[in-house]
Symmetry: C2
């Protein structure tokens, strides 16, 4: 019987647990979480078999899945290097920044423990086990960095999550961090900054603005995301995020110049290109 230990039973950890239990009901799922509500809820759902301390859970697991914020995952990987784990244990994670996590796993891998770094692109501004919505999470891209794990371990891990029908993609840690800096970290950074800017303007205004426009609400929906998690994400991938922000500021700068110059042709060309790209990306 396979035992999976999940450290962090928030939205992602609880979702993966649900997918595992769905296609592999005999798999024993043990978890640890700072918030007992997450543990109790998943127990009620019939997904969690038992709660345990990090140390006990890790020692008894065939698969250890680290699903806490990036900073915590890095600490856990170092703690795991000092524990006596099962032979053939596979350690994986769901952190959003892989270079820093890869570095934190060096001591563990040096001990010969197999590590398979991962990142399901299935986040939400919603948090906690209670918000698990497996329908919303199927078919997402799931990046995997094989590290020192075997083909067999890679295949069995993918099979464990078969219920989610993820689109697994093998990449290296550096490429992953570049991709998510632009595709995920930058949009979140921009949404937080946009929400702050508009809120300050509203508060400074003598006029009541009425209900916010639908466009603004859509553009900033992800600014409702968990601040603790995103602080950890932003600080764990600084170079790539700062580079993406530089690229973004160049785009803003070019649009500003076109407006300042009243250059309709340049502005229309940029907006048309952006619009076409956005419409195309939606189809992929």
């Amino acid at each position: 019987m396979t035992t999976v230990f999940i450290d962090g039973l928030g939205l992602i950890g609880a979702s993966l647990a649900t997918f595992i239990k769905k296609n592999h009901p005999t798999t024993r799922i043990i978890a640890n979480d700072l918030n007992p509500e997450n543990l109790l809820y998943m127990k009620e759902q019939g997904v969690l078999d038992a709660a345990s301390s990090f140390e006990d859970g890790a020692k008894n697991a065939d698969i250890i899945l680290l699903a806490s914020p990036v900073a915590a995952i890095c600490l856990r990987l170092k703690e795991l290097a000092d524990l006596s784990l099962k032979d053939n244990v596979l350690v994986s994670d769901v952190g959003s920044s892989k270079v820093q996590i890869e570095e934190s796993a060096q001591a563990l891998m040096a001990k010969g423990v197999a590590f398979l770094a991962g990142h399901p692109m299935a986040g939400s501004h919603l948090t906690g086990a209670k918000n698990v919505d497996t329908k919303r999470l199927v078919n997402h891209t799931y990046f995997l960095i094989q590290e020192n794990s075997s083909q067999e371990q890679l295949s069995s891990f993918q099979n464990l999550l078969s219920a989610a029908n993820f689109d697994f993609r093998l990449v290296d840690a550096a490429s992953h961090d570049q991709i998510v800096a632009a595709s995920s970290h930058l949009p979140h950074m921009v949404a937080f900054a946009l929400a702050s800017t508009v809120n300050k303007a509203r508060e400074a205004s003598a006029v009541d603005w009425g209900k916010p426009a639908a466009g603004f609400l859509d553009a900033t929906r992800i600014a409702k995301a968990d601040a603790t998690m995103w602080t950890s994400v932003f600080l764990s991938n600084p170079q790539q995020i700062l580079a993406s922000l530089d690229d973004f500021e160049k785009e803003i700068g070019r649009l500003k110049q076109a407006i300042a110059d009243q250059n309709a042709d340049a502005l229309f060309k940029d907006l048309t290109t952006a619009q076409a790209a956005r419409r195309q990306m939606e189809k992929e």
Copy 2:
């Protein structure tokens, strides 16, 4: 019998026409549009009574509603000043930048023609009469700048649109342009720039990124908006938009600094403030 002439039967013009006809079925609605499909479709819907040239439509109307892009509205206001219109005609518009429109209406108002500037905050990235969805458009904020229109004309205009249950708010043109620069123009500008940045990074990458993340798609939905309309909007409210972009860049700059300094406290504080503001605005 009241005759309403609408110049521009795109999404907004056609939506307002639909609301007018709903509660005021005997009102005669005449319209002009560059795209005959919009006219034919609204005729089929039983909303449009007749199509006409701009000149004929304007001359025979009790209410003239200008619903084309801002640049076109400004030209139409100047054309109207040279036409012999009905006595007691009321001219209104739906343009997204009011100071420039107010300036363009000076000659018309100097002739004693009543002008009531307006802006329903009910846009969409969808365009054209075929996308009219009155359910989606009800209860929105509708800014009105009274200009030289009478209380009676103001009331009858609001009554004409009673089916939409708009939240009408009287403001001055300058305040309006400040509000929409931050609440609408800035988010669109940011979405266009974000879509361009991410697309360029994807195209430059050696790795296939897979499906775009849901967060990115939400944050850039409004970048699918009509490029012609938004070029016109951005160029018609330059000072306020550039000021909003400066404020936004300061927010981005502070977040960048916190990341570069690995200042978790400052970053967490900013993200928490942005998150709380965004969640609060949604409730209003």
